[in-house]
């Protein structure tokens, strides 16, 4: 027996026989050895029957594998046959209809809701700008945007770091991704604190004495606050009760159980409180969400008053308009502009004086005392209580809104096709998404509110609430898609998925509409749909954040292996 030129062989038992190892034989059979090695193997095989047999067996094994794999053992599934053409043809006309109805929905949304509100807000003294600029740029609800810029910058950096971690997670192991995020966090926190024109106070109580002045904005969190001095900027309060007897030259934005304004506020009041009492002067406008609002006889609002409350009493003076969505309204003071009110009842006392027109929509006509001085008689509109389900246009609008939702789903599915498919796939597991949905449905708003209370977390809280709302809107679409998948079978094609979303969503709406009339059952079914959908989205996000083993880590973690010497690694060589 001749020896190969290179030590490719292996010592047999007892040293009596040397054979090629299987790895070498396989590489030879697969034409992966360089010419010299292949010749050596070939020479050895000519003299060694065992190795020759092994080589032949390996080649037969390769042929058997190829044959087994290439054989057509099962027909092409019917659902795969020309799926793209089918999806495109089936849904073409439906999308035309959906787009048409959705356009009608958008037009209706603007005509019947946005525009009237815009007009009312303009009348209420918010100026003639768009709602967007009203909320953001004019800072009607949140004037602290500018002072929050540093926090927004940090948030933006964290968001970028998070995105980077997600993008690189396929190339990085979990630890590396975490390190990246933490490094980003540290970098953000290590930034020099920017100069801020805002004073922060946190504690049980806060008191600004009469002779004290805060020359900037003032943030207060705590149980109680009392401002007898002067604040040259805005006042932001999150707590139990606040009493402003001093002078605030900016706006007062307050989230509290009890708010009392005895002093003077040169700007606006934006209040989310249980009780708001104004006995002082507000130079601009007041917007409140309260249970009880009292404008005392000594109180004065030089702008307008917009209120969403259970009970409102106007004893003082409002220089411009009143816009009220209130259960019970009592006016005994002086309103120099227009009054628009909607609620259960309205009472106008004899001491009242209203210069502009009065519009009231309620169950019963406003009670007007004989001594009241009105610019014109009260225009009363009876509030309708008949069942909306009996009205034909209710169903017309349901169809239009359904189309609008489907359009939203279409846009989202096309923007995020892979994530949409993952979300639907997560929704099909049912148990986990519903459980997670309960957590997300209740937990996220609570967490967001807590974040808002900490002041620093306001942007994060607002952003979280916004995302939560988006999830709420899309939850029904996800559930609809799952239902569509149940009926038509799964589709991996984006348009197929969208078609199933549209069909399933319509079915969910058809089933849910009569159920919604049964109050408790309707509520439970609605909650179930929301939680299921939101849980699916949350589960899909969770799955995405779970890093898988990256392909590159496989080779990285592989220890060196004893390959046959001189094995070709650069390409196929003829044997």
């Amino acid at each position: 027996m001749s020896e190969p030129a290179n030590p490719v062989s292996q010592q047999g038992p007892g040293g009596t026989m040397e054979h090629l190892d299987e790895m070498t034989c396989l590489l030879y059979a697969e034409r992966q050895l360089d010419r010299a090695r292949a010749q050596a193997v070939s020479a050895h095989a000519q003299d060694c029957a065992s190795c020759r047999t092994l080589l032949r067996a390996l080649e037969r094994e390769s042929r058997l594998l190829t044959r087994a794999m290439l054989e057509v053992d099962e027909p092409m599934p019917s659902r795969l046959a020309q799926f793209q053409e089918r999806a495109r043809q089936s849904f073409g006309w439906i999308w035309g209809l959906v787009l048409g109805l959705a356009a009608t929905g958008v037009y209706a949304l603007y005509t019947f809701i946005i525009e009237p509100w815009q007009v009312r807000l303009e009348q209420a003294g918010f100026g003639g700008t768009s709602l967007l600029s009203l909320f953001i740029f004019q800072g009607a609800f949140w004037k602290g945007w500018q002072s929050m810029v540093p926090f927004l910058e940090i948030l933006a950096m964290l968001t970028l770091a998070g995105f980077a971690a997600v993008i690189f997670r396929r190339r990085l192991r979990r630890g590396s991704a975490m390190a990246l995020v933490l490094a980003g966090l540290c970098a953000a926190l290590a930034l020099p604190a920017p100069a801020t024109a805002t004073e922060f106070h946190k504690g049980e109580t806060y008191e600004l004495a009469k002779d004290q002045t805060v020359k900037s904005d003032l943030f207060i969190t705590g149980a109680r606050a009392r401002i007898d001095g002067t604040v040259e900027g805005d006042v932001f309060f999150f707590g139990q009760s606040i009493d402003i007897s001093g002078h605030v030259k900016g706006d007062a934005i307050m989230f509290a159980q009890s708010v009392r304004v005895n002093g003077q506020i040169d700007g606006n009041i934006r209040s989310f409180a249980n009780n708001l009492t104004i006995t002082g002067t507000v130079t601009r406008n007041v917007l409140t969400f309260n249970e009880v609002l009292n404008l005392d006889s000594a109180g004065k609002i030089d702008g307008s008053l917009t209120s969403f409350a259970q009970s409102v009493g106007i004893d003082g003076r409002v220089a411009r308009d009143l816009m009220l969505m209130v259960g019970e309204t009592t006016i005994s003071g002086d309103v120099q502009g227009e009054v628009r009110a909607k609620g259960r009842s309205m009472s106008i006392a004899s001491s009242a004086q209203i210069s502009g027109p009065v519009h009231f929509e309620g169950d019963n006509p406003a009670s007007v005392s004989s001594g009241a001085k009105l610019g014109s008689p009260v225009q009363f509109t009876k509030m309708k209580h008949e069942s909306q389900y009996m009205e034909g246009h209710y169903y017309v609008w349901r169809v239009i809104w359904t189309a609008a939702f489907i359009l939203l789903g279409l846009v989202l599915f096309l923007l995020l096709p892979k994530f949409a498919a993952e979300t639907v796939s997560a929704g099909e597991r049912f148990g986990a998404p519903v459980g997670l949905g309960v957590l997300v449905f209740f937990g996220v708003p609570i967490a967001a509110i807590i974040a808002c209370i900490t002041v620093v977390g306001i942007p994060l809280g607002v952003l979280t609430l916004g995302l939560w709302m988006l999830c709420l809107f899309t939850a029904e679409l996800i559930v609809g898609t799952v239902v569509g998948n149940w009926i038509l079978g799964k589709s991996a094609d984006t348009w197929g998925l969208i078609g199933r979303m549209a069909m399933g969503f319509v079915i969910v709406r058809i089933v849910y509409t009569p159920l919604a009339r049964l109050h408790v059952i309707g509520l439970l079914v609605g909650l179930g749909i929301w939680m299921w959908g939101m849980g699916s989205i949350a589960l899909a996000i969770y799955n995405r954040l779970q890093p898988g083993a990256a392909p590159s880590t496989m080779s990285g973690s592989m220890p060196p292996v004893s390959l046959p010497p001189q094995t070709t690694v650069g390409g196929i060589q003829p044997a």
Partner: protein
Amino acid sequence: MTETSEAVARARAGDAEAWGEIYREMGPAIFRFCRRALPTREDAEDATMEIFSKLWEGKLSQYDATRSFSAWLYRVAANHCWDILRRRKIRQDKETEDVDDVPLEHPDPNQLDRLIEQKSSEEVRRALDKLGARARMALVLRYYSDMSYDEIADALGVRRAFVGVVLLRARHELRHALEGKSALAVGGTS
């Protein structure tokens, strides 16, 4: 230029009919590829649709027309299936940890010969279903798609030098599955 190449060129130019031709031509082969590579028939159906959806949504623009379309499509399919297995965390990275155990023995060739002689294609397919994800994928890439070692290394994310090791170990696993014991894998004569 072959019919498929023409259809690909037309599809890239926006001809909707050409998509149908490509799908009719390559769909069954890609489905069979996915069927061999993935655990269930449903997975294979989904994966086939996803792969063609990817083409539909723009992946086709990445195809280099000077090279073989079917080879390129198999690579797309391989990456897609491997990605599915990765997402499900059923890729068996631990396989590599005992790579030193790869035998450099000389198994009993007659025993191997007998085994191959006795087994049908159907039995081999059933045995393939019992293999680990990487072993099965390696065999499918090599013996179904006829990929080179370089292409397999790229698709599986292993070094080129280890492809032979992966294939040999996959064969051992297959024999194990066919025999129901590990005699041929490690117990051959030396």
